[in-house]
Every structure is written in C-alpha cells, then in structure tokens.
Symmetry: D2
Subunit: 159 residues, 4 copies
C-alpha cells in the first residue's frame, strides 16, 4: 500500500508548524489546540471542563519551552497542584475548531504561581479566560514545598 496524500499532508503540517512558531513572536506564550470529538458534548460545543485540560496543556508546554520537563520532578514526587481556578466562558468552541491557548504568568511566589490564560479561536476572539493558581507540593505528603531552584530561575527569566 502506498500513501499518495504525503505531499498534501507535508504541506499542511509545514503550514501548521509555521503557524505554531509564528505565534511565539507575539510576546506571549501560546499553544495550539484542535477540538476533537472527545472534547465536545451533546450540546454540540466543547464541554466546559475540558477548557481546563486545554489550559494545562498550554502551561505544560510553556514550562517545557522554558526548559522545565515535569516528569523528572514527578519522579522526585514534586508537582504543581491547582489550588484555585476561575473560569469565564464567553463563547463556545465547536468540533474541529483550531484554538490558541495563551499563558501569562502574573505572580510567582516561593511555593505557588499564578497565571492568566485565554482560549481564542482563529479570528482572535476570546472564548474563555482562566485564572489559575497552582502550588508546588510534595505529592507523597501533599504539603506545599518551595518551587525548586532550577524552575524558579527560568520562571523569573520567562516573566
């Protein structure tokens, strides 16, 4: 079996890749999210709790872009746990929509970090705004711990 769609796919993906890289130049971190069936509900729109997943993907990729890989910290039982979320849902996203999720850190403390995140559609319309506060904890005890030095260092540089 051969695959004739290769060139079309390559062109598509290159375009998508450019779009991703291009969006970095805006001075805020953003991450693309495509809406699949798994994200929608019988109302025909993205199930609202799933915006929290989209936001977390963007935060994870923001940290990765800053050089922080969280799996190493998970092995040491160190993780960020969300303590508070405020979610403002302004307009619905639908199946197949191509969304952009931003991350702007607003407050970095010894044991916690706060950020504002927006979910936008391809027209730049803001569909959802999330304010998230995450604490650094020891996952074995669930007690707050100081954000590790290597992370706090890049957070300071990235904000």
């Amino acid at each position: 079996m051969t695959y004739d769609g290769t060139e079309r796919q390559a062109a598509y993906l290159t375009q998508q890749a450019r779009q991703i890289v291009g969006e970095v130049s805006l001075g805020e971190f953003s991450w693309p999210v495509r809406v699949y069936y798994e994200d929608t509900d019988a109302g025909g729109i993205v199930y609202y709790a799933n915006y929290l997943k989209f936001c977390e993907r963007a935060r994870t990729e923001w940290l990765r872009a800053l050089g922080v890989e969280q799996d190493g910290w998970l092995d040491e039982k160190i993780g960020f746990v969300v303590r508070h979320v405020s979610l403002d849902l302004r307009a619905p996203a639908r199946f197949n929509d191509f969304l952009t999720v931003t991350v702007v850190p607003t407050r970095i403390r010894k044991v916690s970090i706060e950020c504002v995140q927006e979910v936008r559609n391809v027209n730049g319309q803001v569909l959802c705004v999330a304010e998230v506060k995450a604490a650094c904890v020891n996952l074995a005890t669930m007690k707050p711990v100081a954000i590790p030095g290597p992370i706090i260092e890049v957070l300071g540089r990235g904000s």
Copy 2:
C-alpha cells in the same frame, strides 16, 4: 455459573441506598460520587478538572429530584450552559474515595441560575468548593433564553 457474592452485594447496596436517602434529610441536596481510576491522574489524586464533572452530575440529579429531566429540553434545543466557575481546591481526593457533592442554589434569575457546591469526603471534610453560574440558552443559536416555566417553577419551590 452462579454468583455467591449476591448477599454481600445486596447488603452493600442497601447500605449505600440508605446512605443516599439519608443524606437528603440534611436539608440540602447531595449526591454520592465514587472515585474510579478514570478520575485520577499520575499525581495519585483526582484530576482537578474532574471535580467539575462531579459537580455537574450533582446538579443534574438535583434537577431530576425536582422533577426536571433535561433530555426533553435538549430535544427542544434548550440547555443550561456554564458561564462562570470558581473552583477552590482545598484537599485532594484519591482513588476509591467515596465523596458527597452538594448543591445549594444561591440565585435564580430569568435566564440564569447560580449555585454553590461542595465536595466532601466520608469524614465530612470539604475538599473542594465550586461556585457555578449557568445560563439557559437556545443550543442552536447559543443565545440566552428565559428558563422554561416548568423549570423555573420547581426551582422556586426547591430553593
């Protein structure tokens, strides 16, 4: 094949049923939620976005207990869409925990409803508090519409 565990199961379920019915007598609606693997994450705790699912299950059952079956309204393209959520995560739940989710309506307007919900563990400890504002919309247009009379009537009685 026979099933010898029947009596044990019947005893368990009767106990669970009593617990459910019993909790109604407290004067607030509450709904039991068991934590399964699907609800947890690699941090060993309930993934925080899933508390929104638990809260919605409780709101759905609260409406059902008041006599409102939402599938009929969905057929008429009328549904409640969450507009704002504030989620305060105080302590983690874990796999196999048996939780109780409460619903207390705090404000009922022409096109929206607000409520406060708590997620508690078996010791009564409050793990999570959610403030939820949901609007009644025409799902075809996503425009706000007045909450249908039959619903507003029972909401008025139930609050």
Copy 3:
C-alpha cells in the same frame, strides 16, 4: 433556605436503590450508570471510549461487592492493568439514559482475569459488549505478578 423537593427525591432514590438491589437477583453482577453531558459528544451520543469507563466502574464495584477494595492494593503497588479489550458497539446511548453494565468473569488465571461485560438500556437492549482481559501487575515495575491470595479466593467463589 428549605428544600421542598426532599420527599420527591427520597422516593426517587429509594426506587433507584431498589432497582440496584433488585438487579443483583438475576445471578450476574450489574451496576447502574447514568449518562451525563460529560459522557456525550457532538454527535449527540455517548462517546465510544467512555463505555470503557462505564465497564471499569462496574468491574470495580463487582470486586467491591466481593469484598475487594483496590485502594489498599494500590498502596502496595499492586493493580489490575487492562491488556486487551474488544468492544462491539451495537446501538448508541444518549444523554440522560439510564444504563446497566454487567460483569461476567469468564476465565480466572494466576496472573490475569477475563470477563465479558454488557451495557444495556432500560429496555434491556444490549448497546455494547466488551471483552476485557486484565493482568495483575506490580505498578512500580509493570511486571505481571500473581493475583494476591485474598483476591483470587473471592474471585473463585464469585464465579
């Protein structure tokens, strides 16, 4: 604030509880599952991967009914991991449907267990059939281990 819907709710829940207990008498384990918005997709039906969640809830409750609480085993890094699933999707379930999920063990071996599960609607129509093989593993190493004696004992009695 008072809650006038209490009696209606109590009646509903008692009925539901009887339904649960009653279904045990059929000689197979079954567990009720209500379909919420979280379970559906934009096609208007239950998202197919979610049947696997429903099936796992039923297996968990089947083990619990037999006296096996899995969280204790999780603490010892012992867990069941699904190795193979065959899922036959015959008819769709929709928002607000009340489903019944059955568990019939078909093969119990030293390190694995196989069962057949059906998802039925309130009319008894079979919507989905799942064949599931789960292995007992050490979650730290992910290597197969013998199913612990206390579990194998009740499985033997329950099948």
Copy 4:
C-alpha cells in the same frame, strides 16, 4: 512583560515541526501526541481508554491531511461512528511521553472503513495496537449511509 523564552520555544517547536513532517515520509500517516496529566491515572500510566482518544485524533488528522474536514459533514448530520474496536495494550506510556500514532486503512467499503493504528514511543516501541471499524451514519437517525463521494474518492487515493 517580555518573554525571554521565545527563542528556546521557537527552536523546540521547529524541531517538533520537523519531526512531524519528517514522519510523513515513512509512507504511513502518523500524528504526534504528548501525554499530559489529563491522560494518566493513579497507576502512574496512561489510562487505557485514552488510547482510543489518541487514535481518533490521528484518524481525524489523517482525514484532514487528505482534505476531509469533518465539521462540514457534521453540519449535514453525517459522521463516522466507531462500531468495533480491538485494543491490544503491550506496554504503558507515562506522563510527558511523546508518542506517535499511526493510521493505516485496511478496508474501505461503501458504508464503513477499517484501519489499524499503532501507538509508539520515541524509541519506536509499539505500546498499543488498535483495530478500528467505523461506519458512516446519519447522526439524526443513526442509520448507515454511503460514505459521501468526496470522502470515498480521497480515501481511495490515500490507501
């Protein structure tokens, strides 16, 4: 606020983009999937039902690469519904893993399509194999309908 991580992120994303485009040259469609917390469970691994989500994302992107956008068809109440899945889970994926999901169509009929999909880790190890049969249905009636001409045409070219 400025964002100093831009160059690092751009380099990362370009690399990721190359990886995506590069993998097309193998003659099979593949789609990258990053494992986030949302995908894992308390066993520390990807929750098995979530592989079905990963596989569907890849099928959706495979169709998109072939020029098929499913949201237009959804508006006409035409959609693909999974009828049968066989899932073989060989090794676990973990938080933060970077996976590749392949799509190879094996049988294209008038009203259904079958494909084999693999989920691989960065070392090329096959973690999971899925055989999926999806039927084209009228979502209003859930009855099978012929796959629309424009779709069947590109499927024929792409396989």
